[in-house]
């Protein structure tokens, strides 16, 4: 059974269709890269999986369970499928350690000491043990994004969704965040990555999905998709490369 199976997903905003028919599946431990032009619906797709948006149609099966069903406990699903945002979204009223502890405490009901221990372990993993007491506003963009990743890892999520995690970063800081993601992939963390860094996506992902104005244009093993790009994907690659 696939860990995630998206079938015929549809979503419109104010009558304008953004996702027209999106289907794909993901196995445990895989890394899926979603590529596509701005406005093609990549973020909307991730936000539907994270239940930040409610799709108009289709289904999303997570470990075989239809998470769009009315019976689903949305908060439990979100705690199992975490999202890392382009804009970090660290809690501005909490320091780094508190950022990493709050959901552990309130959602997973872990004890204070346990939550702290797990937070420190994950901060160490992203190389930020020394920033536990710092407030987000004092961190660089790359540090913020690494905290955001650590914060998600503390939840032991089944799937990590990354929505352009490096797009708001200076070039200098992109590498430090990419290194963390590569490390996670090597550890077998299941992830979905939306990015405009084609070369990184190609290196890190096992599957690639090319989204073209709300429709899946190509989906398959990364090697094959890049070896035999569809005309639209080939054009996309050419334009991205020239930028």
């Amino acid at each position: 059974m696939s860990i995630l199976e998206v079938r015929n997903l549809r979503k419109s905003f104010d009558g304008a269709p953004v996702l027209k028919d999106v289907s794909f599946s993901l196995e445990k431990g895989e890394c899926l890269a979603i590529l596509g032009n701005s406005g093609s619906g990549k973020s909307t797709c991730l936000r539907c999986i994270n239940l930040l948006e409610r799709p108009d149609g289709g289904s999303i099966l997570f470990q075989g369970e239809d998470i769009l069903s009315r019976k689903t406990d949305e908060n439990r699903v979100r705690s199992r499928i975490n999202m890392v945002f382009q804009s970090f979204n660290l809690f501005a009223n909490m320091n780094v350690l508190q950022n990493c502890m709050i959901a552990q405490r309130k959602v997973l009901h872990r004890g204070k000491e346990e939550a702290k221990k797990i937070a420190m372990e994950n901060l160490a993993k992203v190389g930020l043990s020394d920033k536990a007491d710092a407030f987000p506003s004092t961190l660089s963009g790359g540090q913020k994004q690494r905290v955001a990743i650590a914060r998600s890892l503390c939840m032991n999520p089944e799937i990590l969704l990354f929505d352009e995690p490096t797009s708001a970063l200076d070039p200098m800081m992109v590498a430090e965040v990419c290194n963390v993601m590569a490390k996670l992939r090597d550890e077998g963390v299941t992830m979905v990555l939306v990015t405009h860094q084609i070369e990184f996506a190609r290196k890190i992902s096992s599957k690639t999905l090319f989204l073209y104005s709300g429709v899946v244009d190509q989906f398959g093993d990364t090697g094959e998709v890049f070896a035999k790009p569809s005309p639209k994907f080939a054009e996309f690659l050419a334009v991205e490369k020239s930028m």
């Binding site: 945002f85 959901a103 407030f135």
Partner: protein, 256 residues
Amino acid sequence: MNLGEDIARMLSTYWQQFLLGLAGTLLLSVVGTGIGLFLGIFIALGKRLRPKKEDPWYLKIGKGFLLGLSSTYSAVVRGTPMMVQALLFKYGCMMLGVNWNNILPGIDVFNGWMVAGLIVITLNTAAYMGEVVLAGLNGVDVGQTEGARSLGLSANQTLWSVVLPQALRNAIPTIGNEWIVNIKDSSVLNVIGVAELYFAAYNAANDSYAFMASYLIIAVIYLLLTLLSNLFLKVLGIKLEGKHVFRFFHGRRAAA
């Protein structure tokens, strides 16, 4: 008659009354602002309720009712003078058989009318604080909410742990303003006999016929109070600013 002599005479004769009046004014402004802020949070939350089409019918009705209630309360209270509200409260209570004169009788300042005054200023402030908190809540980046929800925090947990603390922190200058307004505007509560600073001066003036001296004394006290409060708020602002605690990524969602 010499104004300087008058002032000296008033201060030596009526200093206790002025001090009690000052205590009354401080009590009204602090309690009114504090509890008013607390109630204002709920008014703001009421005004943010939006019945959604996927809500079950009872939630739609409940949300609609609370939305209407908080919006109406806010509009009515902010649209009428506190002096009129105090009088309506006094005579409304009398119609219901409650005379604040008979509650805690025989005490000079902290009598029934002071309790009535505390209720009026608190209920009045709550409406203004509702707007202050609402603006604060709307000013918090939606990314904060999405970050919290995406980790599995519930809407309530997100509100109380993430959004509201930031909203209140950002609203501190406006909250402080409301407090200073209350220091001055609590004077209108004399219409129902609340023993605050203006009330003390009024009585002292009528007792001694030194009108100018009496009102000059309280004018200076009011001014000192508001200046000190402003100073306190400035220091508080600098203390909090120094920690850079609440700067965060702005912009709703990046364009792409």
